[in-house]
Symmetry: C2
Subunit: 218 residues, 2 copies
């Protein structure tokens, strides 16, 4: 059964795509156009009642929330492809801790920068300069903590690549690319080496071939 992934052009679904590639799981993608409002159509809301990306369908099993989907596949295919959960329950605990840090301490700031620097001009609302400044300042403090952590272990949860690192890929790709804040990564030696490592994985390079929304039309 081939896994169907909805919305491959966007950031959160790319968490799922890179996980599936790491786990050698076959999948196909179903485009969803947010600009046309396809995520609010009755058909889509049947799959995802909150009207958000991504969703997967795997036979008659439907699952949403990117970080839930990657946990599901990392566990279901534990011994296939890259092990993304650590070898022990204690290692998995640290993977969960850093996945939560990504979701609650890291992502909100990068997401704000994405909305107000990348998407505001395209969607035609004025970027909020105060939010941009505050988000950048808060993100810098978070990255200082990452720098300290990554000076002690090669990856966030320990000396193994895991879901915690993987989950950072799509939006950090925005940060160093179109958002033009690469200095935030490069000015921190260990964060910079970590980013080079994870963003050069063949899985992520493959996911990049699925493209990102063209900025002119989002």
């Amino acid at each position: 059964m081939v896994v169907k992934v909805y919305g491959p052009a966007y950031g959160s679904p790319k968490r799922v795509l890179v996980c599936l590639v790491e786990k050698d799981i076959e999948f196909e993608t179903v485009p969803v156009d947010l600009i046309k409002g396809e995520h609010k159509s009755p058909e889509f809301l049947e799959l995802q009642p909150f009207g958000e990306l991504p969703v997967i369908q795997d036979g008659d099993y439907t699952l949403y929330e990117s970080r839930a989907i990657i946990r599901y596949y990392a566990e279901k295919y534990k011994s296939q492809g890259t092990d993304l959960l650590g070898k022990t329950i204690e290692e998995r605990g640290l993977v969960e801790q850093w996945l939560e840090v990504e979701a609650h301490n890291y992502h909100p700031h990068v997401y704000n920068l994405t909305i107000h620097i990348l998407f505001a001009p395209v969607l035609g609302f004025p970027p909020d300069e105060k939010i941009i400044k505050e988000s950048e300042e808060k993100l810098a403090k978070v990255l200082d903590i990452y720098e300290e952590r990554l000076s002690k272990s090669k990856y966030l949860a320990g000396d193994f690549f895991s879901l915690a690192d993987l989950s950072h890929l799509p939006f950090t790709h925005y940060l160093v690319g179109s958002i033009k804040k690469e200095y935030m990564i490069r000015s921190r030696k260990h964060v910079s080496a970590w980013w080079d490592d994870i963003s050069n994985r063949p899985s992520w390079k493959k996911v990049l071939t699925f493209g990102f929304p063209a900025l002119k039309t989002l």
Copy 2:
């Protein structure tokens, strides 16, 4: 080894406490006073570099982020106490999905109400009426989706109590109590029955004996 839980008076650490009670795991609590800034002390930042509650120490193992900690104990003691993860990998996937919904779709709105209705007057800053109004409206839409879901299954992830339900306890307790928005739960038949069910579990009643911050001093 007895598990040490830091900050038992506050909402997020109560997720951990109720999980430990459900799993029959012995623990002791270590008070942390946010008003005195104890969460920003050098000693605390050694344990939790972001300066946030909760943290646990279990022998020489330290873990933070409430939803990571509850996953860790639910998995480590899978067959002890209440099973909180479901019986199959597919059930666990749904537990993960609804845990993520709690974190990303439900919690931010209840948290805003907590800050601006409960804590603003105590901490001496003006509550933001616009944020209160918007949060209440957004939470109502989320609860409509919960109502639909809970009309089809007794609990969020299926017909079994899980981490996904448990994670809602501390802040929904604020919502129906001091925030005075109980109508949001009671006006929805299935949400109301679900709340009665989960908030009457002996585990949660035990956790309530640990108290909440006295509002006059937070």
